[in-house]
Amino acid sequence: MTPKQIIGKIGLWFAVLVIVSPAILFFLWMLSLSLKFEVDNAAYPPVFIPEHFAWKNYADVLASNRFVTYFFNSLIVTGSATVLALMVGVPAGYGIARMAAHKSAIVILIARITPGLSYLIPLFLLFQWLGLLGTLVPQIIIHLVVTVPIVIWIMIGYFETTPLELEEAALIDGAGRWQVFRHVALPIAKPGIAVAFILAVIFSWNNFVFGIVLAGRETRTLPVAVYNMISFDQLSWGPLAAAALVVTLPVLLLTVFAQRQIVAGLTAGAVKGG
């Protein structure tokens, strides 16, 4: 290596360090906050690695009855909204791609631009009239606003790139439309479905605005539950940070392990709803 190349290498690694450190330092600090007792969290200058780890912060969060309820609420809302979105969105993406009905993408575009709160006003009234407030149903339905456009959008893009030859061969052999979809198109589209599934899960899990309006005491999802903790124990940072980390941990793990799918999906243009 020439001196010039060595300087280039050092410069590159320095740049990488500068770029990645805000994310790394933030999450390390979050971890540090969550593992400290109040004495250490209130210390100045701040303590990064405490002498005694406050594992108790996590034990408290996980042991509380409410947390288990809220965890299952999140699981049910995100799970149902994602499964329903896949059930209607995957065939729709297939149909739109095969009909080359690109104008229909405008609806998805509108959904993408609309602020989440503007869905809430009419749907809130509707749920009130139907007497559904106080159950998880309103949240499952309104999370479809997030998940359905993501799934349709990604599946249109995916089905457009899958080869038509196999489907045509199957049609010539006398297979019906539905059979072609079920036995030819769907198996090929599995990677695309995985991308749609992962992104729908993440953005539904993270959603906050729908919950603060529609969730009652018993029907809160985790982000709403964490937000409500702020107002009550403003001063106990350790347990709060532990709760925050527990809420976002599934998503962070998914991000690291399914990084390739997430990047593919996000660059396809389907980012965030609501």
Partner: protein, 312 residues
């Protein structure tokens, strides 16, 4: 967003496809279920919102048709006008800063180095993490006495700041969070653009002895312009609508110093339960976003025309 960029060439392609008669008569049955869902949760709310915005509609009292008076009320509502100002400042900063940092990050991630995939995964974590959880930790970091940010400032000799607790610094502080969160998205989009650039211009620039900055300014930047534009558009739409982080950290405060349109909309509709007026805000808000997008498209068009003119 890429519907704007993708739909035309693809539509042209499929029109020209010769094997059309082989296709089965209709794919409608595949689309119908989704159509029903979209009608129920996207189209219906929109139509109903417009109808509500023409009514005096408060929870618990009878509704009356009032025509456009909700919209007229908006023009004389100082809190709304102020919110527009906050939204615009917040949006401009939250578009420009991530674009600058995201482009830099993309150029770096375009190089080959050990552990690139893993580090890219770490780098995109801020935008995938649950916003409320993130906001909570930032609130602790912003704390004037115990927060780690003021400690870090003191290390380099900068006096302690009040961050989100002072009207003058609250919006820049929130923009800091938004930039930290969404720079990765710009990076990913620009990285996609960089991957599509041919290598020849770089080779001839190297032979001509161009500096790193010259290469970036005169080769890379013009070629990634379309991607920067898409990233800017997506960033604009998200920044205007930004809610979770602002709501969780300041709730629009101190006073109303960080109250954006979206936060004001929340207060009107779900704190005061003035649903008619809230609907009018929602409609105007949507039109404002469309208008901003149109302005950006127009500016881009103008840029393209001047480029063509100067080439000729």
């Amino acid at each position: 967003m890429s519907a704007l960029t993708q739909s035309t060439p693809r539509a042209a392609q499929s029109d020209a496809a010769p094997e059309k008669e082989l296709r089965p008569p209709s794919y409608w049955p595949f689309v119908v279920p989704a159509l029903v869902v979209v009608l129920a949760i996207i189209i219906f709310p929109w139509v109903f919102t417009i109808w509500m915005s023409l009514n005096e509609w408060k929870v618990g009292s009878p509704t009356t048709f009032v025509g456009f008076s909700n919209y007229l009320r908006l023009t004389g509502d100082p809190r709304f006008i102020e919110a527009i100002g906050h939204t615009l400042v917040y949006t401009v900063l939250s578009v420009v800063l991530p674009l600058v940092f995201g482009t830099f990050a993309a150029v770096v991630f375009h190089q080959k180095f050990a552990g690139r995939g893993f580090l890219r995964g770490i780098f995109i974590m801020p935008m995938m993490a649950t916003p409320v959880a993130i906001a909570l930790v930032w609130t602790m970091m912003f704390h004037p006495q115990l927060g780690v940010l003021n400690y870090l400032l003191s290390l380099v000799g900068i006096p302690a700041q009040l961050w989100v607790f002072h009207p003058a610094t609250v919006i820049p502080s929130l923009v800091l969070v938004e930039t930290w969160q969404w720079t990765p998205l710009v990076m990913l989009i620009v990285l996609g653009g960089l991957a599509a650039i041919p290598t020849e211009p770089y080779e001839s620039a190297q032979i001509d002895g161009a500096s790193l900055w010259q290469v970036f300014r005169f080769i890379t930047l013009p070629l990634i312009m379309p991607f920067l534009f898409i990233a800017g558009m997506i960033r604009m739409i998200d920044a205007v609508k930004s809610f979770d982080v602002i709501f969780a950290i300041t709730q629009g405060g101190p006073g109303s110093a960080s109250e954006t349109i979206n936060l004001y909309l929340y207060s009107v509709a779900f704190v005061y339960y003035d649903l008619g007026y809230g609907s009018a805000i929602a409609v105007v808000f949507f039109l404002l976003i469309v208008l901003l997008a149109a302005v950006m498209l127009y500016a881009r068009q103008r840029m393209l025309w001047t480029e063509i003119a100067s080439d000729a």
